[in-house]
Structure formats: C-alpha cells, structure tokens
Subunit: 429 residues, 2 copies
Amino acid sequence: MRDGAVQVGILGLGVVGGGLYQILRDNAEQIRRVAGASVEVAAACDLDTERLRELSVPEALQTTEASQVISNPDIDIIVEAIGGISPALNFVTAAIEAGKSVVTPNKEMIAKDGGEILALAEQHGVDVQFEGSVGGVIPILRSLKESLASARIDQIIGIVNGTTNYILTEMSEAGAEFAEVLADAQREGYAEADPTADIEGIDATNKLAILAALGFGQRVPVEEIYCEGISGVTAADIDYANRMGYVIKLLAIGKRAGDELELRVHPALLPADHPLATVRGVYNAIFVSGPECGEIMLYGQGAGALPTGTAVAGDVIDCARNIVHASRGRAPCTCEGEAVLRPMAEVETSAYVRMQVADRPGVLGQIATVLGREQVSIESVIQESAHDDVAEIVWVMHRGPEKHLQAAMSAIEDLAVVREISSMIRVVE
Amino acid sequence: MRDGAVQVGILGLGVVGGGLYQILRDNAEQIRRVAGASVEVAAACDLDTERLRELSVPEALQTTEASQVISNPDIDIIVEAIGGISPALNFVTAAIEAGKSVVTPNKEMIAKDGGEILALAEQHGVDVQFEGSVGGVIPILRSLKESLASARIDQIIGIVNGTTNYILTEMSEAGAEFAEVLADAQREGYAEADPTADIEGIDATNKLAILAALGFGQRVPVEEIYCEGISGVTAADIDYANRMGYVIKLLAIGKRAGDELELRVHPALLPADHPLATVRGVYNAIFVSGPECGEIMLYGQGAGALPTGTAVAGDVIDCARNIVHASRGRAPCTCEGEAVLRPMAEVETSAYVRMQVADRPGVLGQIATVLGREQVSIESVIQESAHDDVAEIVWVMHRGPEKHLQAAMSAIEDLAVVREISSMIRVVE
C-alpha cells in the first residue's frame, strides 16, 4: 500500500472538467474515505484562464501548459476533459507513456482510438477509464465490465444523446416542428451553436461504438456504424406515432447477429410501454439484455457538469484505489479482435412510412403491388382525407430485410402517382 | 500477478447457487478473459445431493461437508448461497479466518452482521462482496461503491421485493384481492409457501439496511427500520389510487434527515409518472438521488437463478481480479459509525386514508374538525354514494409529521360516527 495523497492533473476545465474539479474539492473528505487515500488536484490546466478563475482554482494550481502537467512526476492521474481528437489524443498518449493513469469522458477519442489507447496503457501498466464518455452519470460501462462481466450480452439499446432526446420530447409534448424546437434548445443551452454532431447522430454513434465494445467484447469500427439523425423527423410523424401507440426516440442499437454485430443509430418508433419510451428531456437510458441477465435498464442524466463530473470522479477513485493497492492494470481491455458489422442492407427492420400520393382510385393498390413485388409485407395502413388532390398514406411494414424496404421505397418513388415519400422511420418492438 | 486458475467453492446449490454454478461452467471462457485467470469451481456443497446431480456437477466436486470446502487450501473464494443466519454466518466467518474471499447474496446476514463480517475481512485482508443481496441482477451496490463513490446521496427509494411487486401488479391489473393473488403467486412460484418475510416487508427492510449503509456511509441498525407490509392493501385502495393518478408499490425509502437517517418500508401511493411507477411484476428498481448525481434509476430482475447468479458471478470475478493482482481488500467497508434513525413519529409523511362512516349530515365536518385540531391538513377528499347507511370517504392529507397523522387517526377511530378506518397508506411524491 502506498502512503500519501494521490495527485490528479486536470486538462480542460470546461463543463465536465469544471464539475470534476468542484467534486474533488467539495467532497474531498468522502473521497479520501472511499479511495483509501486523499485525492488532490495538483494542477488544473486550461488555455482559457477565465474558467480557472471562475472555479476559484488556487493560483498555484493554475496552468495553461498541458505538457508541464503531463511531465510533472508528482502527478499520478491525468484527467483529459478537453474533448475531440487533437490535442487530446497526444496528451493522453504522452500521459500513458509517462506512466500515469488516465481518466477521460472523451467519447470521440475513445470510440475512434480506444483500442490503441488501451493497448498502450496495458504496455505501460496503467489504467485508462472512461465511464463519463457514455450516458453521463449512468454507471453503464463499469456495470458491463464488472457486475455483468460473466453474462453474454445479446442486445444494447440506448438513448444516449440528451440534445436529441430533449428536442424529440419537446416536439412530442408541444406539437412543435424540429427547427423551432432546435432554436429554443440552442437558446436554453440544451443544444450547441453547431448542433450537427448531436442531431445527425454522430455523437450517439461514438457512444454506441464504446457500448458495443464493452458489451460484446470486440473492437468496433465506428465509421462503419449506420447513422441517421433526427433532422427529418416532423411533428406529423410524432403525431401519427403517438396515435399508433408509439413514441419516436433517437436510438443507438447494438445486437449480436451470428458472428457479426448489427450496430445502428437512427430515429425509431418505440412502443409507448417500452422502458425506454418514458425517458424524457435530457435524460439518457441504456437497456441491456442477455440470456443470463435478462432485461436491465440504467437511467440518469446524460450530460451536465456535476452528473458527468460524478462519473469521472468515480473513475478517478477507481484509479486511485489501484495506485494505493499497486494494482494498476487490474481490469484491462478484454476485447477479442475487431467486430464484423452486418451491412445495413442485410439488417432486418420494420418501418413506418408516410407518403403523399395522388388522390385517385387505384393508387393504394398500385403502391401495395410494388410492396408485394419487393417482398415487403404490410402490417397496417392509414389513409386520411385528402387535401388539394393529395392524399397522405401512412404504412407500417412487417419486419424484413432492409434491402427489400429500400428497393420498394425506390420503386415507389418512381411511380407517377406518388408525389413524395415524406418520412421513413424504423420501428423497434 | 498470480498464475493458475482461481478456485471457487460454492456452499448451497439452490436457486442462486445453482445459477452461479451454471454461469461459471457455461461462460468459463468469457470469465477467464475478463477475470485475467480461469475461474474454476473446485467444490459444490449441498446437503441435498439431488440438487448437485440435477446440475450435473461432476462427482469429484460434489460434497456435503462445508467445513472441508472451507478448509481446502486450494480454494481462494467461498460463495455462501445458503441463506439465513445459521449456519451461513459460521461458514462465512470460518472462510474469512481461513484467508479466503467471500461472495454472498445473503441479505439477511449482511443486513444484520455485515459490519462485523466486513471488519473481520479487513483484519484478514480478504474481500467480501454481496451485490446479489439487493435487487438481483441490478448492479446497484457496485455503482454506489464505485461509480457514485464521490457523490453525496440524499435519497434512495427502491422496489426491492419481487414477490410483493408481483402481487401488487396483479391486483392492479386484474382488480383482484390480495389473498387471491397471493395464492396464485404461490402456485406459480412467485411467492414462497411461508410468504411472511416478503409480504410483511421484512425482506425489503434487510435490503434497505444494505442500500442505506452503502449509500449513506453508515452502519444501519436493521431492527430499528420502520416496517409495514402489503397484506392490508385492498383492491379498493388500488382502484382509488389509480383514479387519483397513483399506483401502489411497496417501497423501501431511505433519506438523509440532518444528522439522522429516515428509513422505512411500507406500501405507498406513487405518482403514475414517477420512474418507479412503471416497474411491473417481479422486476425491481432502485432510484437514487443527490446534489451531484441528480436522479438515477437502475432496473432489472430482482430474483431468479441466472439474473442473481450473474450478480454473484460479477462479484466472483471482482474477487478473482484482486487475487490475480494481489490487491485483496482494495475496496473495504467505508462506513463511518452507526446511523441514528429518525423515529417514525418524527418523519414527515402524507397519507391516503379510506374510512367507512355513518351516512348522515355533519359527519364529514366532524372528522375534518378532528383533523384540523390534530394539525393535519387536507389535500383532497372524495365521498361517494352510500350503501346501507354507510358512506366511504377517501382523504389525501398534506405532508406533515407522522405523529400528527397517527393522533388524528386515533381520535377519528373513537368518533361514534366512524365505523372503521379501512386503510391508511402513505403517499410519496
């Protein structure tokens, strides 16, 4: 057992880094008790020194020089809370090579470079922990790595992006359109000035790659994950979905499919009585199932200074325990090889499709004939009263190969009687 | 790092011990990969040898002599899955004294003797893990000890008993009475032949003691926890609750109250939109909140061979990692002292009260006057049409000290116009 305090250097004192700093400072006595040693912030580094002053970081700990923090021999743990790939990855690599354990909530970096980072950590006998990278405060990664470590996981479905869940919840509850709610969300700080990574599903894709790696025990080529955002979801779709007993959520879906993995991020109709359906606003939740563990769901705040800071602080405590007990590298990466992802065309899906057609006899039959020819089977269809010679038809298709659905949509779009296919949203049962 | 397999002895091959045995056998390759060593069952001990044969335990591993398993120097980890205090506690004590790590899902033993067991474990430098003791597969204890270790926890509310949740769900969905549903549950194996510990809330009280110790960092005198079961809940109460926008659940409630803890198990009206309200059947869920972590809920199967076996196997893997990395005792008990429980009379509650009264003018006023005199404030009241000169009145009281409510109930019972107070169920907002 080591004596003396464990020293932490924080790189990046933005939302999460700032939250972590507050927690390590304000809950120091509790953390000392559970970690088995005092955990002290030895350096807080940010190019924006205003952030450091706002957090009342003592001047002696303030710095703008990450390299000095990394090379400081007194520091045991580096927390990288800068985000993005560059310079975060260089800092993390340098910290591991300097023999320091690393904690990071950086989902993009872990999703893309996690395999190499963990291999380097194993080589240097240090820990790399990243609970804060998925689901904010939700203890999903440690649960997959530890509590559920013996269980075969068949399926992981998550609401892992707070911005899109906030927007879809507001659209559903206020009956408002996407653009309007997005603008509100930006004003209220629930969406970023450039919301692309959130609303187009890229953020959720990174998180799914991490969940799948831990749940299925294989490294995941994140760039191959099928990704579709919510910018095409309309108030009309949400209204139809609600009337049919569904809600619309942006889901990150991971499933075992034989020797392959099926990984996809897209908006989906989810039955209103599914445990994930009641997850509102900026909350996140992750649903996991398998033959031994049954169905499990973990729910909590997916973002925010103190919730995500709590997840990061939990990792810091874990690393500190390993330093105190000389057991660094105690729970390394256990992925076996790289996952083969099933191409989206081969995935089985069912779908909700809303289209505008000419309001003439025979049109429904003509479309249904195309569906039949392309082997797409119809579960239900609604045609409501027409306006200006245009009728709206809403179909729900039975489950079948995505490629059949795509071929059918393409053929239907070519029909003269079809004005447009307004929406195609998959259904998850 | 230690070479060679980690050897496990299982005491008790009933539901959970049997589930663990299957998991360690069938998922051995995955467990070897994540634990950093093979985890082998070296002995499976049960007085009922039929159980061992049913599980196809190889004859060389079968035994009926727990003391031989405990004294076997090749065994590293003892899993106690017998349940109850005697002989389980003696076996666990002997195992720790023999230098072995212990894993147990025994909630009664941990709730009553956990403090002494963990102190002994620390003295002998071994681990004692008990994730399976609360919430079956739900990874709540490890989350409190690790992921949320930095956070102040203010409140823990759990549905932690599957039998009672199954009964209340069936009563609610079928409109059936308690005794009828209990008999069905016994036939279907969801309730034991002697269901007292479950239906009277004793099992939930043990689990609350464990949750509170980990969440609030204090040892809990389990026998002082206020405990009330569900045998008094009627179909009429559930119907009224539903009509008022509530569901009735048996809740285990833990709150910080200044320097004291407020701990209680009782049926409660819970708003239908509360995250715990949708937990149906034998599922369990635990809701945790605090100033840093916000609101978190973990949901999963609270019982069953493979779900609880998964939790126990996760603990075995944790112990195995500490054996491999020579870091046993890495996360010891961190409780500080014994909790002082706030007496129930001092707790603030609100309540739903259903009573039968004489169907005469002035009765409602007479009762309301008593409530006012006892400082109980009325939130709502429903009086429906009378039968046979008896009217039913349902009150919901505003939040206030429990002692005022009790005094009022006592005074109301003494009124000549009151036939009976049929039900008094607390309301949780």
